[in-house]
C-alpha cells in the first residue's frame, strides 16, 4: 500500500496549527463539542479524500435530487 506522504504531512501540520491557534478560546463544553464535531468531521473527510479522491461528494447527492424539478422547469 503506497502512502501519499506529502498530503498526510500537510494535513497533520494544519491539524496541529489549527488546534494550537484555537486552543485558548475553547473554554465551555458547548464550544468544545461544536468545535470537535466540525473538526473531526472535516478531518475524516480530508483523510478519506487523500486516499480516495473520487469519493462521491455532496453535489452527487444534490444533483439527482434537484434535476427532475430542473427538467420540469427548463425542458430536457
Amino acid at each position: 500500500m503506497n502512502m501519499p506522504s506529502g498530503p498526510i504531512i500537510i494535513l497533520v501540520l494544519t491539524a496541529i496549527v489549527m488546534l494550537a491557534y484555537d486552543w485558548r478560546r475553547l473554554r465551555d463544553a458547548r464550544t468544545v463539542m461544536a468545535y470537535s464535531i466540525l473538526y473531526i468531521g472535516g478531518y475524516t473527510i480530508a483523510v478519506l479524500l487523500v486516499f480516495n479522491p473520487d469519493l462521491p461528494g455532496p453535489n452527487d447527492v444534490l444533483r439527482p435530487l434537484f434535476s427532475p424539478l430542473a427538467k420540469l422547469l427548463l425542458g430536457p
Binding site: 473538526y39 473520487d54 461528494g57 455532496p58 444534490l62 444533483r63 422547469l73 427548463l74
Partner: protein, 372 residues
C-alpha cells in the same frame, strides 16, 4: 448577542452587491448567452425582480424579529425541531454556495495564471485571508468592501472604456427575435447568483440605521442588475455570438483590448478585480456560516468556528467536483433558488399565518371576556 459591532445600511448594501457581482461578472455572460443570445442584456432586468422579492421578504422578517438571524427565527416560527433542521440545511446551503465560489476561483487562477501551482495552495491562501477577515468581526467584513469599492470601480472601468472602440451595436439586433422567452430562460440561469442576496439576514441584526435599509438594499439589487446588463451589452457587442464558446468572456474582453498599442495585456487587471471580489464574497459567506453555526449550537462566541468551517469550505470545494462548470447546471440553480428564495418566502408566509391566528385568537378571547 454574539456580535457587538454595528454596521450601516450602506455598508451592508455594498457588501451584498459586491459579493453577488463577484463571480457573475466573469462567468455569467458565457452561461446566459447559451439561451438568451442577443437578448441577454434583458435577463438581469427580469432576475432583478427575484432580488427585490428576496430582499423585501428578509427585511420584513427582520422587522418582525429585529435582533435575530434566520437560524434563530426559524426556531421561533417553525418550532424547535423543524426550525433547527431548516437552520442546519440552510447553513449547509451557504457552505456549499461559498465552496462553489471558492472552486470557481481556484479553477480560474489555475487555468489562466498559476498553471503549475497545486490547487489547494491557491484556495488555502484565499481562505487564510478570509478567515482573518471573518474573525475580526462584522465591522471588518462590512467595511472592507466599502474601502475597496473605488478601486474595483476604477479597474472595471479600465476594462470597459477601451473596449467601447470595438463595440458593434448591430450585434444586438434583431432584438427579441423569438419573443421574451429566451431572455427569461437566461434570467433563470442567473438565479444561481441572485439567491446569494439572502445571506444578508446574518448581518441585518447589526445594522444601526434601519430606516434606510430598504432603500439601500433595493439600490444594491438595482446596481447589481445594471452592472450585469452593461457587462452583457459590452461582452456581446464586442465578442458576438462566440460568447457561448468561452468560459470567461470577460477575460477575452480584456485580452481584446489593444489601445494605442500601449494599453495592453489587461488580464492582470481582471485578476485583481477577481481576487478582491472573491475575498469579499468568501468572507461574506464565511462570517455568515460561522455566526449561524454558533447560533445553532447556542455558543458564546462564533470566532472558534471560523477555522473548522474554512477547512470544510476547502474540502467541499474539491469533494466530488470535476470542474467548476457544474455550478451553472439547472439542478444547482434549482437548489440555490429553493434555499435562497423559496425558503425565506415560506418562512414569511408561515410567520404571517401564525400572526393572523394569534391575533384572531386574542380578539376572540377579548370578545369572550367582554361578553362574560
Amino acid at each position: 448577542m454574539l456580535e457587538k459591532g454595528r454596521i450601516s445600511a450602506a455598508q451592508l448594501a455594498i457588501l451584498a452587491g459586491m459579493s453577488v457581482t463577484a463571480t457573475s461578472l466573469l462567468t455569467a455572460p458565457g452561461i446566459v448567452a447559451i439561451d438568451a443570445k442577443q437578448d441577454m442584456w434583458l435577463s438581469p432586468v427580469w432576475v432583478s425582480s427575484a432580488g427585490f422579492i428576496i430582499v423585501w421578504v428578509l427585511l420584513k422578517l427582520s422587522q418582525a424579529y429585529p435582533a435575530q438571524t434566520m437560524i434563530e427565527y426559524a426556531v421561533t416560527v417553525l418550532g424547535r425541531l423543524t426550525g433547527k433542521t431548516v437552520g442546519i440545511l440552510y447553513l449547509f446551503f451557504v457552505l456549499t454556495a461559498t465552496a462553489n465560489v471558492l472552486r470557481q476561483f481556484t479553477d480560474f487562477v489555475k487555468l489562466t495564471f498559476l498553471l503549475s501551482t497545486p490547487p489547494f495552495v491557491i484556495s488555502g491562501g484565499m481562505l487564510l485571508v478570509c478567515s482573518l477577515v471573518a474573525r475580526s468581526g462584522v465591522e471588518t467584513v462590512a467595511r472592507l468592501p466599502m474601502l475597496l469599492l473605488p478601486l474595483i470601480g476604477l479597474l472595471v472601468l479600465m476594462i470597459y472604456t477601451p473596449s467601447i472602440v470595438d463595440v458593434n451595436i448591430h450585434r444586438l439586433s434583431p432584438m427579441m427575435e423569438k419573443g421574451l422567452s429566451p431572455s427569461i430562460i437566461g434570467a433563470f440561469r442567473l438565479l444561481s447568483w441572485m439567491p446569494v442576496f439572502s445571506i444578508i439576514h446574518f448581518y441585518l441584526p447589526y445594522v444601526s440605521n434601519r430606516e434606510h435599509l430598504l432603500r439601500w438594499s433595493f439600490g444594491s439589487v438595482i446596481v447589481f442588475s445594471l452592472t450585469l446588463s452593461i457587462t452583457f451589452v459590452i461582452v456581446y457587442t464586442v465578442i458576438g455570438a462566440a460568447t457561448v464558446n468561452y468560459v470567461y468572456p470577460f477575460m477575452v474582453l480584456a485580452r481584446f483590448i489593444s489601445f494605442t498599442e500601449f494599453f495592453e495585456h489587461l488580464e492582470s487587471v481582471v485578476m485583481m478585480i477577481w481576487v478582491i471580489q472573491i475575498v469579499i464574497r468568501v468572507s461574506f459567506g464565511l462570517y455568515g456560516t460561522a455566526l449561524g453555526v454558533a447560533q445553532c449550537f447556542g455558543l458564546s462566541s462564533y470566532k472558534p468556528m471560523v477555522l473548522p468551517i474554512c477547512m470544510l469550505l476547502m474540502l467541499f470545494s474539491f469533494w466530488g467536483i470535476e470542474n467548476a462548470e457544474f455550478v451553472s447546471s439547472p439542478a444547482m440553480v434549482v437548489y440555490y433558488t429553493l434555499f435562497g428564495m423559496v425558503l425565506p418566502i415560506l418562512l414569511f408566509i408561515v410567520h404571517l399565518v401564525k400572526q393572523l391566528f394569534s391575533e384572531s385568537g386574542k380578539a376572540d378571547l377579548q370578545e369572550g371576556e367582554s361578553a362574560a
